[in-house]
């Protein structure tokens, strides 16, 4: 028996020695598989290109200054987190690129240590890509460093006339969250839902009844058109040979619902003279009206243009094509929200993130015209102020604007952080409600020569499916022509899984 065992051991030993190189190869393969799986868990970059709006256009694309352009090839977000070795994080941000390039993302520390988190390939597009990178920190880091890896094309984003030519990278809404799971469970997390929104342009081709591009007739009216979107942002009209000095003749432009069986219902209307058109100038022969009205996907809409005031006066406007298509004189710019499960609309660039045991929801104002669309309800004179890049409302008693947060999930806790726009403004208040009816005002602090600052955490014992946040004017005197608003507004919540 003993001899048999010894022979067996000897045979195995000889076999191992003879085939030693194959055993080494086997070990290398096993090691490669283990390390690759570990790296895969750590460095998988999730890129969510907005599917619904992949061919949409952005009316602001050429007006904004990029985050990275020319020789500014990196940005550092300081003190955004504080990690220890083994901590699991989600880094996410929104990127839009006018360059074919690569972003290198690192975690850095004040002592000079760094760790590469991931790389993101950039492709020329005009839509927002939502990037999410799960990673496991291998030490203590505090900052996030993002750089364009190579500046192959050093041409400036500005052309000789000082206009932008889309050669830059926009990075917004950077967020980092610690995930309450073990590193090995990283793959069990569900991907983050992003509030994906987009623009599209609806050209009205061969759509004008009766009038062949001449406003000298009594009135023109477009054929009923279905505008598939949530908001009608702009109306562009092609008009040629405008006499900018003429204040005499006013024209009235109206957009109204024109469903077959229902009464015409005015959505938006404006009067303008040729003199006023200076302010509406968009590009040669094209003038832009800001409509900013909520629309219904199932309704049909018509547009009419007529002379305002005295009917006998001679009108001096004529249509011009607004694109290369010769029979397209009018275009609408539509803004649309994507939906989760066909019903939940996530506010622009908001995030619903899986933290392991709970979800985290986050929304903040984007300092963009879309902030107005994100409102649930607002009083008549609420608008988006282009100078301050904020939603503002008149300083009049009773004025308000309300946000609605609803996700088809239960909110367990939320936090409201906000800061008043100006120091010299009258007081404003912020209230929350779970039914848009019973309101509870939150407190604020205000030091001398400082704006009001709001920061309150609210625990909801029974949970709530909806949270409404109302920002209202509570000053003593109504001041005509003055507006109130929030410089910063952030709503974050713990949502039950």
């Amino acid at each position: 028996m003993k001899t048999m065992i010894l022979t067996l051991i000897k045979t195995i030993k000889n076999y191992v020695i003879i085939n030693s190189k194959y055993w080494v190869i086997l070990c290398i393969f096993v090691l490669a598989i283990i390390l690759s799986n570990k790296n895969k868990a750590q460095e998988e970059v999730r890129v969510y290109a907005p599917k619904a709006f992949s061919h949409s256009y952005d009316p602001y694309w050429e007006k904004e200054v990029p985050t990275l352009f020319d020789n500014i090839n990196h940005i550092e977000y300081k003190n955004v987190f504080s990690s220890s070795a083994g901590d699991v994080y989600h880094l996410n941000f929104v990127v839009k690129s006018g360059l074919e390039n690569k972003l290198l993302i690192k975690a850095t520390s004040t002592t000079g240590d760094e760790m590469t988190i991931g790389e993101v390939d950039l492709h020329v597009n005009n839509t927002d890509d939502f990037i999410e990178i799960p990673f496991i920190a291998d030490g203590a880091y505090q900052n996030i460093w993002i750089e364009m890896s190579e500046l192959d094309d050093k041409s400036s984003i500005f052309n000789v006339n000082g206009e932008m030519n889309r050669r830059g990278v926009f990075i917004t809404n950077l967020g980092i969250s610690r995930i309450d799971i073990l590193p090995r469970d990283l793959h069990n997390l569900s991907p983050t839902f992003f509030g994906d929104t987009g623009w599209s342009e609806v050209l009205l081709e061969n759509n004008i009844n009766e009038v062949g591009g001449d406003l000298r007739k009594e009135k023109i009216k477009t054929k009923p058109t279905n505008l598939e979107g949530d908001f009608l942002a702009f109306l562009d009209i092609g008009i040629e040979e405008v006499d900018f000095d003429s204040k005499k003749n006013k024209h009235k432009v109206t957009i109204f619902k024109c469903n077959k069986d229902t009464k015409e219902d005015v959505l938006w209307s404006d009067e303008f003279s040729s003199y006023d058109m200076r302010k509406l100038y968009l590009r040669e022969n094209v003038y832009r009206f800001e409509v900013m009205k909520k629309i219904n996907k199932n309704d049909l809409y018509c547009l009419s243009i007529s002379k305002a005031g005295k009917k006998n006066e001679f009108d001096d406007l004529s249509f011009a094509p607004i694109t290369e298509k010769e029979d397209a004189f009018i275009a609408f710019t539509i803004f649309d929200y994507s939906e989760i499960d066909g019903e939940i609309k996530m506010l622009t660039k908001s995030k619903l993130e899986d933290l392991g045991k709970t979800f985290k929801y986050e929304y903040q104002n984007n300092n963009f015209v879309t902030d107005l669309f994100d409102l649930f309800e607002y009083s008549e004179d609420t608008k988006f102020d282009r100078d301050d890049k904020l939603v503002v409302s008149g300083e009049v008693e009773g004025n308000y604007f309300t946000y609605k947060f609803a996700l088809n999930k239960v909110f367990k806790q939320f936090r409201i952080e906000a800061e008043q726009l100006d120091v010299d403004m009258d007081q404003i208040g912020i209230s929350y409600s779970f039914n848009n009816n019973d309101w509870q005002e939150i407190g604020y602090i205000q030091e001398v020569d400082d704006p009001q600052k709001f920061d309150q955490v609210v625990n909801i014992n029974d949970g709530s499916g909806e949270v409404f946040v109302k920002v209202f004017f509570k000053g003593e005197k109504n001041k005509k022509g003055r507006y109130y608003g929030l410089k910063k507004f952030r709503f974050s919540a713990i949502v039950q899984k």
Partner: protein, 110 residues
């Protein structure tokens, strides 16, 4: 005639080394499966094949030096990412040089 000899030799070579060739192909397949870059797949396949059929260590040392010399040049040219990539390749080849060195020492002892 010469072509025929070459053909026979190649066939013979393939048959004799089919185990080794299969393993190198496995290494390539592994790299593709995990989405490694082309260069990483090549280096890994080279590493596996060098263990199966050891090559002189100076061969890998030369490649490591090539990447090492290029690294500072790329840094001067502000191609930081490429420089980092080359530094990593250089490190890979230095490891392979050491392994080949150990194999050579073992052979010499025998």
């Amino acid at each position: 005639m010469k072509k025929e000899i070459e053909k026979i030799n190649l066939k013979k070579l393939l048959v004799e080394n089919k185990k080794d060739i299969t393993l190198v192909l496995c290494a390539v397949a592994l790299g593709i499966f995990y989405g490694w870059s082309n260069m990483e797949v090549i280096i890994f396949a080279l590493f596996v094949s060098s263990i199966l059929k050891p090559v002189p260590m100076r061969f890998f040392a030369a490649i490591a030096l090539f990447f090492l010399i290029l690294t500072p040049v790329l840094l001067i040219l502000e191609r930081n990412l490429r420089a980092e990539e080359f530094a990593v390749y250089s490190y890979y080849f230095l490891i392979m040089t050491v392994i080949m060195g150990l194999i050579e020492i073992r052979k010499d002892k025998k």
